[in-house]
Symmetry: C3
Subunit: 208 residues, 3 copies
Protein backbone atom coordinates (compact mmCIF):
# COMPACT_ATOMS: atom_id res chain seq x y z
CA UNK A 1 0.00 0.00 0.00
CA UNK A 2 2.80 2.35 0.86
CA UNK A 3 4.25 2.15 -2.65
CA UNK A 4 1.03 3.21 -4.34
CA UNK A 5 0.55 6.59 -5.89
CA UNK A 6 -3.10 7.15 -5.09
CA UNK A 7 -3.74 10.90 -4.89
CA UNK A 8 -5.68 10.41 -1.62
CA UNK A 9 -2.57 9.05 0.01
CA UNK A 10 -0.27 11.84 -0.99
CA UNK A 11 -2.81 14.19 0.56
CA UNK A 12 -2.16 12.77 3.99
CA UNK A 13 1.58 13.31 3.62
CA UNK A 14 0.98 16.85 2.40
CA UNK A 15 -1.33 17.59 5.29
CA UNK A 16 1.12 16.16 7.82
CA UNK A 17 3.89 18.30 6.32
CA UNK A 18 1.69 21.35 6.71
CA UNK A 19 0.87 20.50 10.30
CA UNK A 20 4.55 19.91 11.13
CA UNK A 21 5.35 23.29 9.54
CA UNK A 22 2.86 24.97 11.87
CA UNK A 23 4.53 23.21 14.83
CA UNK A 24 7.87 24.66 13.64
CA UNK A 25 6.28 28.10 13.38
CA UNK A 26 4.88 27.78 16.92
CA UNK A 27 8.19 26.71 18.45
CA UNK A 28 10.08 29.46 16.60
CA UNK A 29 7.64 32.04 17.87
CA UNK A 30 7.83 30.59 21.38
CA UNK A 31 11.61 30.98 21.28
CA UNK A 32 11.33 34.54 20.00
CA UNK A 33 8.83 35.52 22.68
CA UNK A 34 10.63 33.93 25.63
CA UNK A 35 13.90 35.54 24.45
CA UNK A 36 12.24 38.94 24.71
CA UNK A 37 10.31 38.12 27.89
CA UNK A 38 7.31 40.24 26.87
CA UNK A 39 3.86 38.66 27.03
CA UNK A 40 1.34 41.19 25.71
CA UNK A 41 -2.21 40.53 24.50
CA UNK A 42 -0.80 40.88 21.00
CA UNK A 43 1.73 38.11 21.57
CA UNK A 44 -0.93 35.83 23.05
CA UNK A 45 -3.22 36.58 20.12
CA UNK A 46 -0.53 35.85 17.51
CA UNK A 47 0.21 32.48 19.12
CA UNK A 48 -3.53 31.73 19.17
CA UNK A 49 -3.67 32.35 15.42
CA UNK A 50 -0.91 29.81 14.91
CA UNK A 51 -2.73 27.36 17.15
CA UNK A 52 -5.96 27.96 15.24
CA UNK A 53 -4.27 27.08 11.93
CA UNK A 54 -2.94 23.89 13.53
CA UNK A 55 -6.48 23.00 14.61
CA UNK A 56 -7.83 23.52 11.12
CA UNK A 57 -5.25 21.23 9.51
CA UNK A 58 -5.82 18.61 12.21
CA UNK A 59 -9.57 18.69 11.61
CA UNK A 60 -8.98 18.42 7.86
CA UNK A 61 -6.84 15.31 8.44
CA UNK A 62 -9.44 13.67 10.70
CA UNK A 63 -12.25 14.56 8.26
CA UNK A 64 -10.30 13.12 5.33
CA UNK A 65 -9.57 10.03 7.38
CA UNK A 66 -13.26 9.50 8.08
CA UNK A 67 -14.01 9.73 4.35
CA UNK A 68 -11.09 7.71 2.98
CA UNK A 69 -10.91 3.95 2.61
CA UNK A 70 -7.31 3.55 1.55
CA UNK A 71 -4.78 5.22 3.79
CA UNK A 72 -0.98 5.22 3.54
CA UNK A 73 -0.73 3.77 7.06
CA UNK A 74 -3.06 2.50 9.79
CA UNK A 75 -6.05 4.72 10.48
CA UNK A 76 -5.32 4.77 14.22
CA UNK A 77 -1.76 5.92 13.50
CA UNK A 78 -2.98 8.74 11.23
CA UNK A 79 -5.37 9.79 13.97
CA UNK A 80 -2.69 9.66 16.65
CA UNK A 81 -0.07 11.42 14.53
CA UNK A 82 -2.42 14.31 13.72
CA UNK A 83 -3.51 14.68 17.34
CA UNK A 84 -0.01 14.53 18.78
CA UNK A 85 1.36 17.07 16.29
CA UNK A 86 -1.58 19.31 17.14
CA UNK A 87 -0.86 18.84 20.86
CA UNK A 88 2.67 20.24 20.45
CA UNK A 89 1.16 23.46 19.08
CA UNK A 90 -1.61 23.52 21.71
CA UNK A 91 0.92 23.20 24.49
CA UNK A 92 3.08 26.05 23.18
CA UNK A 93 -0.04 28.18 22.94
CA UNK A 94 -1.10 27.19 26.47
CA UNK A 95 2.32 28.21 27.77
CA UNK A 96 2.31 31.66 26.17
CA UNK A 97 -1.22 32.24 27.43
CA UNK A 98 -0.18 31.11 30.91
CA UNK A 99 2.74 33.59 30.93
CA UNK A 100 0.22 36.37 30.34
CA UNK A 101 -2.27 35.11 32.94
CA UNK A 102 0.52 34.66 35.51
CA UNK A 103 1.67 38.24 34.84
CA UNK A 104 5.19 37.11 33.93
CA UNK A 105 7.57 39.84 32.77
CA UNK A 106 11.24 39.67 31.90
CA UNK A 107 13.50 37.01 30.45
CA UNK A 108 13.95 33.72 32.32
CA UNK A 109 17.12 32.09 31.02
CA UNK A 110 16.06 28.61 32.06
CA UNK A 111 12.94 28.95 29.96
CA UNK A 112 14.89 30.29 26.97
CA UNK A 113 17.17 27.27 27.20
CA UNK A 114 14.08 25.04 27.16
CA UNK A 115 12.74 26.97 24.16
CA UNK A 116 15.97 26.16 22.29
CA UNK A 117 15.63 22.45 22.99
CA UNK A 118 11.99 22.70 21.88
CA UNK A 119 13.08 24.25 18.57
CA UNK A 120 15.49 21.37 18.02
CA UNK A 121 12.93 18.73 18.93
CA UNK A 122 10.25 20.25 16.68
CA UNK A 123 12.80 20.36 13.85
CA UNK A 124 13.47 16.65 14.34
CA UNK A 125 9.71 16.02 14.42
CA UNK A 126 9.31 17.76 11.06
CA UNK A 127 12.14 15.73 9.53
CA UNK A 128 10.74 12.46 10.89
CA UNK A 129 7.29 13.28 9.47
CA UNK A 130 8.75 14.17 6.06
CA UNK A 131 10.84 11.00 6.06
CA UNK A 132 7.68 8.86 6.21
CA UNK A 133 7.10 9.72 2.56
CA UNK A 134 10.25 8.08 1.36
CA UNK A 135 9.84 4.35 1.87
CA UNK A 136 13.34 3.68 0.57
CA UNK A 137 14.89 5.67 3.35
CA UNK A 138 12.91 4.83 6.47
CA UNK A 139 16.17 4.58 8.40
CA UNK A 140 16.22 8.35 8.30
CA UNK A 141 12.82 8.60 10.06
CA UNK A 142 14.15 6.27 12.73
CA UNK A 143 17.21 8.43 13.30
CA UNK A 144 15.10 11.56 13.77
CA UNK A 145 12.99 9.66 16.30
CA UNK A 146 16.13 8.73 18.23
CA UNK A 147 17.10 12.41 18.27
CA UNK A 148 13.63 13.35 19.61
CA UNK A 149 14.03 10.78 22.39
CA UNK A 150 17.50 12.12 23.21
CA UNK A 151 16.16 15.67 23.49
CA UNK A 152 13.36 14.50 25.77
CA UNK A 153 15.99 13.03 28.11
CA UNK A 154 17.92 16.31 27.98
CA UNK A 155 14.68 18.08 28.92
CA UNK A 156 14.06 15.74 31.86
CA UNK A 157 17.42 16.60 33.37
CA UNK A 158 16.95 20.32 32.68
CA UNK A 159 13.55 20.29 34.40
CA UNK A 160 14.89 18.43 37.44
CA UNK A 161 17.84 20.81 37.77
CA UNK A 162 15.70 23.92 37.40
CA UNK A 163 13.03 22.69 39.83
CA UNK A 164 15.72 21.57 42.28
CA UNK A 165 17.20 25.09 42.19
CA UNK A 166 13.72 26.56 42.74
CA UNK A 167 13.16 24.40 45.84
CA UNK A 168 16.68 25.18 47.09
CA UNK A 169 16.45 28.93 46.77
CA UNK A 170 12.97 30.31 46.39
CA UNK A 171 11.23 31.74 49.41
CA UNK A 172 8.30 33.36 47.57
CA UNK A 173 5.70 30.58 47.20
CA UNK A 174 3.76 32.38 44.46
CA UNK A 175 6.92 32.72 42.37
CA UNK A 176 7.53 29.01 42.90
CA UNK A 177 3.95 28.10 41.92
CA UNK A 178 4.29 30.03 38.64
CA UNK A 179 7.70 28.81 37.53
CA UNK A 180 7.31 25.23 38.68
CA UNK A 181 4.27 24.94 36.43
CA UNK A 182 5.83 26.70 33.45
CA UNK A 183 8.97 24.55 33.57
CA UNK A 184 6.92 21.36 33.92
CA UNK A 185 4.84 22.47 30.89
CA UNK A 186 8.00 23.04 28.86
CA UNK A 187 9.17 19.50 29.57
CA UNK A 188 5.70 18.15 28.85
CA UNK A 189 5.95 19.69 25.38
CA UNK A 190 9.09 17.62 24.81
CA UNK A 191 7.16 14.57 26.03
CA UNK A 192 4.56 15.25 23.35
CA UNK A 193 7.31 15.42 20.71
CA UNK A 194 8.36 12.01 22.00
CA UNK A 195 4.76 10.81 21.64
CA UNK A 196 4.99 11.82 17.96
CA UNK A 197 8.21 9.80 17.70
CA UNK A 198 6.44 6.82 19.30
CA UNK A 199 3.64 6.96 16.73
CA UNK A 200 6.16 7.19 13.90
CA UNK A 201 8.17 4.28 15.31
CA UNK A 202 5.01 2.21 15.51
CA UNK A 203 4.31 2.99 11.83
CA UNK A 204 7.87 1.96 10.95
CA UNK A 205 7.59 -1.32 12.88
CA UNK A 206 4.49 -2.25 10.90
CA UNK A 207 6.30 -1.47 7.65
CA UNK A 208 9.41 -3.46 8.61
Amino acid sequence: MRFSIFPKETNFFDMFDKLAAVAIEASNYFYEVTSKGIYTEEVVSKMQDIEHRGDQITHAIIDSLNKTFITPFDREDIHALANELDSIIDMLNTMVNRMRVYRITGVNNDLVEFAEVLKKSTAAVELAVKALRDTKNLMSAREHCIEINRLENVGDRMRDNILGKLFDNVTDPIYLIKWKEIIVDAETTLDICEDVANVIESILVKWA
Copy 2:
Protein backbone atom coordinates in the same frame (compact mmCIF):
# COMPACT_ATOMS: atom_id res chain seq x y z
CA MET B 1 -27.44 0.60 9.75
CA ARG B 2 -28.66 3.71 11.43
CA PHE B 3 -32.11 3.32 9.87
CA SER B 4 -32.64 -0.14 11.31
CA ILE B 5 -35.00 -0.88 14.13
CA PHE B 6 -33.05 -3.61 15.90
CA PRO B 7 -33.97 -3.48 19.60
CA LYS B 8 -30.28 -3.76 20.51
CA GLU B 9 -29.57 -0.48 18.80
CA THR B 10 -32.31 1.51 20.46
CA ASN B 11 -30.86 0.35 23.74
CA PHE B 12 -27.70 2.32 23.13
CA PHE B 13 -29.67 5.50 22.49
CA ASP B 14 -31.73 4.89 25.63
CA MET B 15 -28.62 4.29 27.70
CA PHE B 16 -26.93 7.42 26.35
CA ASP B 17 -30.05 9.44 27.17
CA LYS B 18 -29.94 8.09 30.71
CA LEU B 19 -26.26 8.93 31.08
CA ALA B 20 -26.80 12.46 29.73
CA ALA B 21 -29.66 12.87 32.22
CA VAL B 22 -27.29 11.99 35.08
CA ALA B 23 -24.83 14.59 33.75
CA ILE B 24 -27.65 17.16 33.86
CA GLU B 25 -28.46 16.11 37.41
CA ALA B 26 -24.80 16.48 38.42
CA SER B 27 -24.42 19.94 36.91
CA ASN B 28 -27.72 21.11 38.45
CA TYR B 29 -26.57 19.90 41.84
CA PHE B 30 -23.17 21.50 41.34
CA TYR B 31 -24.88 24.81 40.62
CA GLU B 32 -27.11 24.45 43.68
CA VAL B 33 -24.19 23.63 45.97
CA THR B 34 -21.84 26.37 44.75
CA SER B 35 -24.70 28.90 45.04
CA LYS B 36 -25.04 28.00 48.71
CA GLY B 37 -21.30 27.67 49.30
CA ILE B 38 -21.74 24.87 51.83
CA TYR B 39 -19.67 21.71 51.39
CA THR B 40 -20.70 19.25 54.08
CA GLU B 41 -20.12 15.48 54.16
CA GLU B 42 -23.77 15.15 53.19
CA VAL B 43 -23.29 17.26 50.05
CA VAL B 44 -20.17 15.29 49.07
CA SER B 45 -22.02 12.03 49.64
CA LYS B 46 -25.04 13.09 47.56
CA MET B 47 -22.76 14.03 44.64
CA GLN B 48 -20.99 10.67 45.01
CA ASP B 49 -24.35 8.91 44.66
CA ILE B 50 -24.95 10.75 41.39
CA GLU B 51 -21.48 9.84 40.21
CA HIS B 52 -22.05 6.21 41.17
CA ARG B 53 -25.20 6.06 39.05
CA GLY B 54 -23.25 7.51 36.13
CA ASP B 55 -20.63 4.79 36.57
CA GLN B 56 -23.25 2.06 36.52
CA ILE B 57 -24.81 3.29 33.27
CA THR B 58 -21.36 3.67 31.70
CA HIS B 59 -20.43 0.12 32.66
CA ALA B 60 -23.75 -1.12 31.27
CA ILE B 61 -22.99 0.61 27.94
CA ILE B 62 -19.47 -0.87 27.73
CA ASP B 63 -20.75 -4.32 28.70
CA SER B 64 -23.50 -4.16 26.06
CA LEU B 65 -20.94 -3.01 23.53
CA ASN B 66 -18.72 -5.98 24.25
CA LYS B 67 -21.66 -8.33 23.72
CA THR B 68 -23.26 -6.67 20.67
CA PHE B 69 -22.32 -7.21 17.03
CA ILE B 70 -24.50 -4.59 15.40
CA THR B 71 -24.18 -1.12 16.82
CA PRO B 72 -25.85 2.13 15.71
CA PHE B 73 -22.46 3.77 15.20
CA ASP B 74 -18.78 2.83 15.37
CA ARG B 75 -17.79 0.83 18.44
CA GLU B 76 -14.93 3.18 19.25
CA ASP B 77 -17.34 6.13 19.15
CA ILE B 78 -19.79 4.40 21.50
CA HIS B 79 -16.90 3.69 23.85
CA ALA B 80 -15.64 7.27 23.67
CA LEU B 81 -19.09 8.84 24.02
CA ALA B 82 -19.87 6.78 27.14
CA ASN B 83 -16.50 7.54 28.73
CA GLU B 84 -16.60 11.27 28.00
CA LEU B 85 -20.15 11.65 29.32
CA ASP B 86 -19.08 9.77 32.43
CA SER B 87 -16.03 12.04 32.75
CA ILE B 88 -18.26 15.14 32.98
CA ILE B 89 -19.98 13.61 36.02
CA ASP B 90 -16.68 12.40 37.51
CA MET B 91 -15.19 15.87 37.23
CA LEU B 92 -18.16 17.54 38.93
CA ASN B 93 -17.89 14.97 41.72
CA THR B 94 -14.13 15.55 42.00
CA MET B 95 -14.72 19.28 42.33
CA VAL B 96 -17.29 19.01 45.12
CA ASN B 97 -15.04 16.58 46.96
CA ARG B 98 -12.10 18.95 46.52
CA MET B 99 -14.11 21.84 48.00
CA ARG B 100 -14.62 19.75 51.12
CA VAL B 101 -10.99 18.59 51.32
CA TYR B 102 -9.73 22.16 50.78
CA ARG B 103 -12.02 23.35 53.62
CA ILE B 104 -13.79 25.85 51.34
CA THR B 105 -16.69 27.75 52.92
CA GLY B 106 -18.81 30.55 51.52
CA VAL B 107 -19.98 31.50 48.05
CA ASN B 108 -17.40 32.33 45.36
CA ASN B 109 -19.18 34.29 42.64
CA ASP B 110 -16.64 33.37 39.98
CA LEU B 111 -17.32 29.71 40.62
CA VAL B 112 -21.10 30.22 40.56
CA GLU B 113 -20.71 31.92 37.17
CA PHE B 114 -18.77 28.89 35.96
CA ALA B 115 -21.46 26.59 37.34
CA GLU B 116 -24.03 28.45 35.23
CA VAL B 117 -21.99 27.96 32.06
CA LEU B 118 -21.59 24.30 33.01
CA LYS B 119 -25.37 23.93 33.30
CA LYS B 120 -25.76 25.41 29.82
CA SER B 121 -23.04 23.23 28.34
CA THR B 122 -24.44 20.04 29.89
CA ALA B 123 -27.91 21.00 28.57
CA ALA B 124 -26.42 21.31 25.06
CA VAL B 125 -24.66 17.96 25.55
CA GLU B 126 -27.97 16.30 26.40
CA LEU B 127 -29.66 17.80 23.33
CA ALA B 128 -26.79 16.75 21.06
CA VAL B 129 -26.94 13.19 22.40
CA LYS B 130 -30.72 13.00 21.95
CA ALA B 131 -30.41 14.42 18.42
CA LEU B 132 -28.28 11.42 17.35
CA ARG B 133 -31.45 9.33 17.37
CA ASP B 134 -33.16 11.33 14.66
CA THR B 135 -31.23 10.71 11.47
CA LYS B 136 -33.49 13.10 9.54
CA ASN B 137 -32.45 16.00 11.69
CA LEU B 138 -28.72 15.60 12.24
CA MET B 139 -28.25 19.30 11.62
CA SER B 140 -29.71 19.82 15.05
CA ALA B 141 -26.96 17.69 16.67
CA ARG B 142 -24.38 19.76 14.83
CA GLU B 143 -25.87 22.99 16.16
CA HIS B 144 -25.74 21.78 19.75
CA CYS B 145 -22.08 20.84 19.22
CA ILE B 146 -21.36 24.36 18.00
CA GLU B 147 -23.00 25.72 21.16
CA ILE B 148 -20.84 23.43 23.32
CA ASN B 149 -17.73 24.70 21.54
CA ARG B 150 -18.86 28.31 22.04
CA LEU B 151 -19.36 27.75 25.77
CA GLU B 152 -15.91 26.20 26.04
CA ASN B 153 -14.44 29.38 24.57
CA VAL B 154 -16.47 31.45 27.03
CA GLY B 155 -15.03 29.29 29.81
CA ASP B 156 -11.45 29.78 28.57
CA ARG B 157 -11.81 33.54 28.82
CA MET B 158 -13.50 33.30 32.21
CA ARG B 159 -10.71 31.12 33.58
CA ASP B 160 -8.00 33.45 32.27
CA ASN B 161 -9.72 36.50 33.75
CA ILE B 162 -10.30 34.88 37.12
CA LEU B 163 -6.73 33.49 37.34
CA GLY B 164 -5.33 36.86 36.19
CA LYS B 165 -7.25 38.56 39.01
CA LEU B 166 -5.91 35.97 41.49
CA PHE B 167 -2.31 36.61 40.45
CA ASP B 168 -2.91 40.38 40.52
CA ASN B 169 -4.42 40.54 43.96
CA VAL B 170 -3.88 37.50 46.14
CA THR B 171 -1.13 37.57 48.71
CA ASP B 172 -2.11 34.36 50.55
CA PRO B 173 -0.41 31.55 48.59
CA ILE B 174 -2.61 28.82 50.10
CA TYR B 175 -5.75 30.68 49.00
CA LEU B 176 -4.22 30.95 45.53
CA ILE B 177 -3.32 27.25 45.42
CA LYS B 178 -6.92 26.29 46.27
CA TRP B 179 -8.78 28.60 43.92
CA LYS B 180 -6.38 28.31 41.00
CA GLU B 181 -6.98 24.56 40.99
CA ILE B 182 -10.75 24.79 41.42
CA ILE B 183 -11.13 27.31 38.59
CA VAL B 184 -8.89 25.24 36.31
CA ASP B 185 -11.04 22.18 37.12
CA ALA B 186 -14.22 24.08 36.25
CA GLU B 187 -12.81 24.95 32.83
CA THR B 188 -11.57 21.38 32.36
CA THR B 189 -15.17 20.21 32.82
CA LEU B 190 -16.16 22.42 29.88
CA ASP B 191 -13.28 20.87 27.91
CA ILE B 192 -14.77 17.46 28.58
CA CYS B 193 -18.16 18.68 27.30
CA GLU B 194 -16.26 19.72 24.17
CA ASP B 195 -14.73 16.24 23.96
CA VAL B 196 -18.30 14.89 23.88
CA ALA B 197 -19.08 17.32 21.06
CA ASN B 198 -15.98 16.11 19.20
CA VAL B 199 -17.09 12.48 19.44
CA ILE B 200 -20.57 13.42 18.21
CA GLU B 201 -19.13 15.44 15.33
CA SER B 202 -16.97 12.47 14.35
CA ILE B 203 -20.11 10.28 14.31
CA LEU B 204 -21.88 12.86 12.14
CA VAL B 205 -18.98 13.07 9.68
CA LYS B 206 -19.12 9.30 9.18
CA TRP B 207 -22.85 9.50 8.55
CA ALA B 208 -22.55 12.39 6.12
Copy 3:
Protein backbone atom coordinates in the same frame (compact mmCIF):
# COMPACT_ATOMS: atom_id res chain seq x y z
CA MET C 1 -8.47 -18.64 20.32
CA ARG C 2 -7.78 -18.59 24.02
CA PHE C 3 -7.55 -22.41 24.17
CA SER C 4 -4.89 -22.66 21.49
CA ILE C 5 -1.30 -23.49 22.21
CA PHE C 6 0.41 -21.33 19.59
CA PRO C 7 3.87 -20.44 20.91
CA LYS C 8 3.28 -16.80 19.90
CA GLU C 9 0.40 -16.59 22.32
CA THR C 10 2.15 -17.97 25.33
CA ASN C 11 4.81 -15.34 24.70
CA PHE C 12 2.36 -12.57 25.48
CA PHE C 13 1.47 -14.17 28.82
CA ASP C 14 5.15 -14.62 29.62
CA MET C 15 5.89 -11.02 28.76
CA PHE C 16 2.97 -9.75 30.84
CA ASP C 17 4.17 -11.83 33.79
CA LYS C 18 7.62 -10.29 33.43
CA LEU C 19 6.17 -6.77 33.28
CA ALA C 20 4.00 -7.40 36.34
CA ALA C 21 7.08 -8.71 38.17
CA VAL C 22 8.89 -5.43 37.44
CA ALA C 23 5.86 -3.54 38.81
CA ILE C 24 6.15 -5.61 42.01
CA GLU C 25 9.86 -4.83 42.18
CA ALA C 26 9.14 -1.10 41.76
CA SER C 27 6.48 -1.01 44.47
CA ASN C 28 8.67 -3.02 46.87
CA TYR C 29 11.54 -0.63 46.31
CA PHE C 30 9.19 2.34 46.71
CA TYR C 31 8.07 0.96 50.07
CA GLU C 32 11.68 0.36 51.15
CA VAL C 33 12.76 3.87 50.17
CA THR C 34 9.83 5.73 51.74
CA SER C 35 10.28 3.71 54.95
CA LYS C 36 13.87 4.98 55.17
CA GLY C 37 13.01 8.48 53.98
CA ILE C 38 16.32 8.90 52.15
CA TYR C 39 16.26 10.07 48.53
CA THR C 40 19.81 10.09 47.23
CA GLU C 41 20.99 10.13 43.59
CA GLU C 42 21.73 6.44 44.06
CA VAL C 43 18.14 5.71 45.07
CA VAL C 44 16.77 7.72 42.13
CA SER C 45 19.14 5.93 39.78
CA LYS C 46 18.18 2.45 41.06
CA MET C 47 14.48 3.23 40.54
CA GLN C 48 15.29 4.49 37.03
CA ASP C 49 16.94 1.17 36.24
CA ILE C 50 13.76 -0.64 37.27
CA GLU C 51 11.70 1.76 35.16
CA HIS C 52 14.03 1.21 32.21
CA ARG C 53 13.52 -2.55 32.40
CA GLY C 54 9.76 -1.99 32.45
CA ASP C 55 10.07 0.15 29.32
CA GLN C 56 12.03 -2.53 27.51
CA ILE C 57 9.47 -5.24 28.23
CA THR C 58 6.63 -2.89 27.22
CA HIS C 59 8.34 -2.09 23.92
CA ALA C 60 8.92 -5.80 23.32
CA ILE C 61 5.19 -6.46 23.85
CA ILE C 62 4.14 -3.65 21.47
CA ASP C 63 6.69 -4.79 18.88
CA SER C 64 5.49 -8.39 19.08
CA LEU C 65 1.91 -7.17 18.82
CA ASN C 66 2.70 -5.28 15.62
CA LYS C 67 4.25 -8.41 14.12
CA THR C 68 1.72 -10.99 15.30
CA PHE C 69 -1.54 -11.91 13.60
CA ILE C 70 -3.01 -14.23 16.20
CA THR C 71 -3.15 -12.84 19.70
CA PRO C 72 -4.58 -14.42 22.87
CA PHE C 73 -6.95 -11.45 23.32
CA ASP C 74 -7.91 -8.27 21.48
CA ARG C 75 -4.99 -6.26 20.15
CA GLU C 76 -6.27 -3.07 21.76
CA ASP C 77 -6.46 -4.84 25.13
CA ILE C 78 -2.88 -6.13 24.81
CA HIS C 79 -1.77 -2.61 23.98
CA ALA C 80 -3.70 -1.10 26.89
CA LEU C 81 -2.59 -3.77 29.38
CA ALA C 82 1.09 -3.29 28.51
CA ASN C 83 0.84 0.50 28.68
CA GLU C 84 -1.07 0.57 31.97
CA LEU C 85 1.31 -1.88 33.65
CA ASP C 86 4.20 0.25 32.42
CA SER C 87 2.47 3.37 33.77
CA ILE C 88 2.44 1.93 37.31
CA ILE C 89 6.22 1.63 37.16
CA ASP C 90 6.62 5.04 35.52
CA MET C 91 4.58 6.68 38.24
CA LEU C 92 6.59 5.08 41.05
CA ASN C 93 9.77 6.27 39.33
CA THR C 94 8.32 9.77 38.88
CA MET C 95 7.52 9.90 42.58
CA VAL C 96 10.98 8.89 43.76
CA ASN C 97 12.52 11.40 41.36
CA ARG C 98 10.16 14.08 42.62
CA MET C 99 11.16 13.41 46.25
CA ARG C 100 14.76 14.11 45.27
CA VAL C 101 13.92 17.24 43.23
CA TYR C 102 11.70 18.57 46.05
CA ARG C 103 14.56 18.02 48.52
CA ILE C 104 12.45 15.76 50.73
CA THR C 105 14.23 14.20 53.71
CA GLY C 106 12.88 12.08 56.52
CA VAL C 107 10.07 9.58 56.83
CA ASN C 108 6.48 10.71 56.18
CA ASN C 109 4.18 8.15 57.79
CA ASP C 110 1.25 9.03 55.54
CA LEU C 111 3.36 8.23 52.49
CA VAL C 112 4.61 4.97 54.00
CA GLU C 113 0.99 3.96 54.60
CA PHE C 114 0.27 4.70 50.93
CA ALA C 115 3.32 2.68 49.92
CA GLU C 116 1.88 -0.29 51.80
CA VAL C 117 -1.45 -0.04 49.97
CA LEU C 118 0.50 0.25 46.72
CA LYS C 119 2.36 -2.97 47.50
CA LYS C 120 -0.95 -4.73 48.08
CA SER C 121 -2.50 -3.33 44.92
CA THR C 122 0.50 -4.26 42.77
CA ALA C 123 0.40 -7.76 44.26
CA ALA C 124 -3.27 -8.06 43.24
CA VAL C 125 -2.35 -6.73 39.77
CA GLU C 126 0.26 -9.45 39.37
CA LEU C 127 -2.21 -12.15 40.43
CA ALA C 128 -4.90 -10.82 38.08
CA VAL C 129 -2.44 -10.81 35.16
CA LYS C 130 -1.27 -14.36 35.92
CA ALA C 131 -4.89 -15.53 36.24
CA LEU C 132 -5.57 -14.57 32.59
CA ARG C 133 -3.56 -17.60 31.53
CA ASP C 134 -5.90 -20.07 33.14
CA THR C 135 -9.16 -19.92 31.20
CA LYS C 136 -10.73 -22.47 33.51
CA ASN C 137 -10.37 -20.21 36.49
CA LEU C 138 -11.21 -16.73 35.23
CA MET C 139 -13.25 -16.13 38.39
CA SER C 140 -9.92 -15.75 40.16
CA ALA C 141 -8.88 -12.88 37.84
CA ARG C 142 -12.19 -11.20 38.58
CA GLU C 143 -11.63 -11.46 42.34
CA HIS C 144 -8.20 -9.86 42.12
CA CYS C 145 -9.75 -7.01 40.09
CA ILE C 146 -12.34 -6.48 42.83
CA GLU C 147 -9.50 -6.28 45.36
CA ILE C 148 -7.68 -3.69 43.21
CA ASN C 149 -10.88 -1.61 43.06
CA ARG C 150 -11.29 -1.90 46.84
CA LEU C 151 -7.74 -0.69 47.43
CA GLU C 152 -8.33 2.27 45.10
CA ASN C 153 -11.27 3.29 47.25
CA VAL C 154 -9.12 2.93 50.37
CA GLY C 155 -6.55 5.19 48.69
CA ASP C 156 -9.20 7.81 47.83
CA ARG C 157 -10.18 8.13 51.47
CA MET C 158 -6.54 8.17 52.61
CA ARG C 159 -5.71 10.96 50.15
CA ASP C 160 -8.71 13.04 51.22
CA ASN C 161 -7.87 12.63 54.91
CA ILE C 162 -4.20 13.45 54.44
CA LEU C 163 -4.92 16.50 52.23
CA GLY C 164 -7.64 17.66 54.64
CA LYS C 165 -5.10 17.50 57.49
CA LEU C 166 -2.60 19.45 55.35
CA PHE C 167 -5.13 22.24 54.67
CA ASP C 168 -6.18 22.25 58.33
CA ASN C 169 -2.72 22.53 59.81
CA VAL C 170 -0.03 23.60 57.40
CA THR C 171 1.05 27.22 57.37
CA ASP C 172 4.14 26.78 55.15
CA PRO C 173 2.84 26.98 51.56
CA ILE C 174 5.94 25.38 50.03
CA TYR C 175 5.56 22.36 52.35
CA LEU C 176 1.93 22.15 51.29
CA ILE C 177 2.82 22.38 47.57
CA LYS C 178 5.29 19.50 47.91
CA TRP C 179 3.20 17.09 49.95
CA LYS C 180 -0.10 17.81 48.27
CA GLU C 181 1.46 16.78 44.98
CA ILE C 182 3.21 13.70 46.33
CA ILE C 183 0.07 12.40 48.04
CA VAL C 184 -2.01 13.03 44.91
CA ASP C 185 0.60 11.10 42.88
CA ALA C 186 0.43 8.18 45.31
CA GLU C 187 -3.33 7.95 44.84
CA THR C 188 -2.94 8.33 41.07
CA THR C 189 -0.73 5.24 41.12
CA LEU C 190 -3.62 3.31 42.68
CA ASP C 191 -5.88 4.72 39.93
CA ILE C 192 -3.51 3.26 37.35
CA CYS C 193 -3.70 -0.13 39.09
CA GLU C 194 -7.47 0.22 38.73
CA ASP C 195 -7.00 1.01 35.03
CA VAL C 196 -5.18 -2.33 34.74
CA ALA C 197 -8.14 -4.00 36.47
CA ASN C 198 -10.51 -2.30 34.01
CA VAL C 199 -8.57 -3.65 31.02
CA ILE C 200 -8.57 -7.14 32.54
CA GLU C 201 -12.30 -6.94 33.26
CA SER C 202 -12.92 -5.90 29.66
CA ILE C 203 -10.94 -8.95 28.48
CA LEU C 204 -12.99 -11.18 30.79
CA VAL C 205 -16.30 -9.74 29.54
CA LYS C 206 -15.35 -10.59 25.95
CA TRP C 207 -14.46 -14.12 27.00
CA ALA C 208 -17.69 -14.61 28.95
